[in-house]
Symmetry: C2
Subunit: 331 residues, 2 copies
DNA sequence: GGGTCTCTATGCATCGATGCAAGAAGCCGT
DNA sequence: ACGGCTTCTTGCATCGATGCATAGAGACCC
């Protein structure tokens, strides 16, 4: 900036004024400085500005695994929403390491990011976060700040209701575990069963903490290989990755989906519409999540809302019914 | 840092010395300062350090679309490799916007990132980049700096050879277009055919620039719906997303894979092993790409290599043969 | 003419860290 | 006792931008 100032024969401050569209700059001056800016190819040093202003123009997005399609699609939505606000996105992955999550909640990213979006974590903390922080998904562990996500109980009820309406009665929940996302989904599943006067069959519960295709495949494969009688007539996978693995296991055992066993999931991955048969899935509105989260984050950043209070916002979702749960001989 | 200095009754500079493990600090002093650091919960301001040192500790990763599984998996690998070096990763998406890519090559991220990894772009430029810059994948357009990726001609030959060895002769390339990645893959396909004395059948080429499941689905669906005779006996999809869409279209038309038509792809997405039938796919070694790219980037950052010369490094890949190309009645 | 007001351009201090170089303290050899 | 050396600590300037305050130039009013 000093170079530009020298070149244009004005003060550094004036160059800054031009760059920032300060009101009191004469047209003549603006053009002269602009010419120098262009000629020298000036690029703002955002680090220096960040030091002075206390803002970096960056937000951090923290997810367990970027390679999981759900988080990839979510990240994409966040990047889009951030771009609309002129913010760049720094992505960190935690691999579900609670210690790392805790450090981040405590403010480890405070100096590089103006705010943090933390997704689906395991860490618990009672401390007030030291950065503007918005939690995505379920975080049973803390009651501070903004929590954005779908109502998982309601979402699970919606999927379950669909299966029940299709006539399926022996439904196996897939992905049962004690993680913060699994618990409310199982809850919703049970709630809906109860509403229909159906008692959950403990033996049908398919437990795994590995919510990947491999996890779904392994669990369902074991179930089928066991040769035990009393197979479910439908599988409600707690996410689509599990469902895709389950589908593979079912096909491998020659089981027709949905004629013999129906499958439904949650996330509505891009992939899910292109497997065979196309997967019925509940789609969280990722753009809604991203937009809502960034709005909440900005309110924290400019001090409108505080970080102590607990605010929960549920975002929209939509059930995509596809062939994996229709055209079957349900019972 | 000033607060810590006051609290410990020492100078700011000494605190800095302790934080940076400067050699000439007495043990006594180190402990006293460390106590104050801990007590006050000091966190380094990386922005300020960045201003002084000219390094931000961040690299930018630029990809067209994060939601595409390949780029998600690549990003994951880059984040891991960067973490090993103590670098954070800022992710930008371009949606293949050439103007944006060009701005990035010119150094738009120079002040926020110490270096840039730019993946699979369309932009052409002859200017020397103004940031340490490593290009990932094919970038026909520029001859500056480091280019890291698999040898796409060889990769395509490898897949094609596998199909030929399995006995397939009427192979349809899927994803034909004039993008920088498609061209060498088609080249390799033709090269291998030629080596076997087979002339490519123009009519079999399945052209699309949309390398997503939808793109693959649409093209193959149109082919099958056309009712034209002379279907291929195998499809070589230029990436797995295309292949997955193709699989869906084939199944929908009641075509058995691989008995009637075999399918192979490139990328080896996590998903690809869990579709039905599991997809034969050529796996680029993403960790190798990320590691090689970051090594090259660091050499540029510390000035060991310059940004003018052209350096191309091919990374490892491995063909995963699965059922989508085996156990068929090839011809 | 003098005072007030608006518009424009500038100087200086500052954000939080580190490079540099000098100062202080202790030790050794002669 | 004194210079020379090593070890340890510190003050000051600096990175590149912006906040604040103010000075100068006109314009306008009484």
């Amino acid at each position: 900036m000093r170079d530009v100032a020298d070149h244009a024969g004005v003060s550094v401050r004036t160059v800054s004024n031009v760059v920032n569209d300060f009101v009191y700059v004469s047209e003549e001056m603006r053009q002269k400085v602009q010419a120098s800016l262009d000629e020298l190819g000036y690029q703002m040093d955002y680090v220096a500005r960040g030091l002075r202003s206390g803002r970096t123009g960056m937000i951090a997005l923290v997810v367990p695994q970027l390679a999981e399609p759900y988080f990839a699609e979510l990240s994409q939505a966040v990047i889009r929403a951030a771009a609309r606000r002129g913010l760049a996105v720094l992505i960190e992955t935690t691999n579900n390491d609670p210690a790392l999550e805790q450090r981040i909640m405590k403010g480890a990213l405070a100096t590089v990011a103006d705010g943090v979006l933390l997704s689906a974590g395991a860490a618990t903390t009672e401390d007030e976060p030291e950065v503007p922080l918005v939690l995505l998904g379920e975080h049973a562990a803390t009651r501070h700040g903004d929590h954005i996500g779908i109502d998982n109980v309601l979402a699970a009820r919606t999927v379950t209701r669909h299966l029940l309406e299709q006539g399926y009665r022996r439904i196996a929940p897939l992905g049962v575990s004690d993680t913060s996302t699994a618990v409310p989904r199982l809850q919703g599943f049970h709630d809906e069963l109860a509403a229909w006067g159906i008692r959950p069959v403990q033996r049908l519960a398919l437990a795994t903490t590995d919510w990947s295709p491999r996890g779904g495949y392994d669990v369902v494969n074991k179930l089928l290989a066991s040769g035990k009688p009393g197979l479910p007539t439908a599988i409600f996978a707690f996410n689509d990755s599990l469902a895709l693995g389950a589908l593979r296991a079912l096909r491998q055992h020659g089981i027709d989906v949905p004629a013999q066993i129906a499958v439904a999931g949650i996330d509505n991955l891009e992939q899910s519409a292109f497997v065979d048969p196309p997967l019925t899935s509940l789609a969280p509105d990722l753009d809604d999540i991203a937009e809502t989260a960034l709005t909440a984050l900005e309110l924290q950043m400019d001090g409108t809302t505080d970080r102590t209070a607990y605010r929960r916002k549920d975002t929209a979702f939509h059930l995509h019914v596809r062939e994996s749960t229709t055209a079957g001989n349900a019972q």
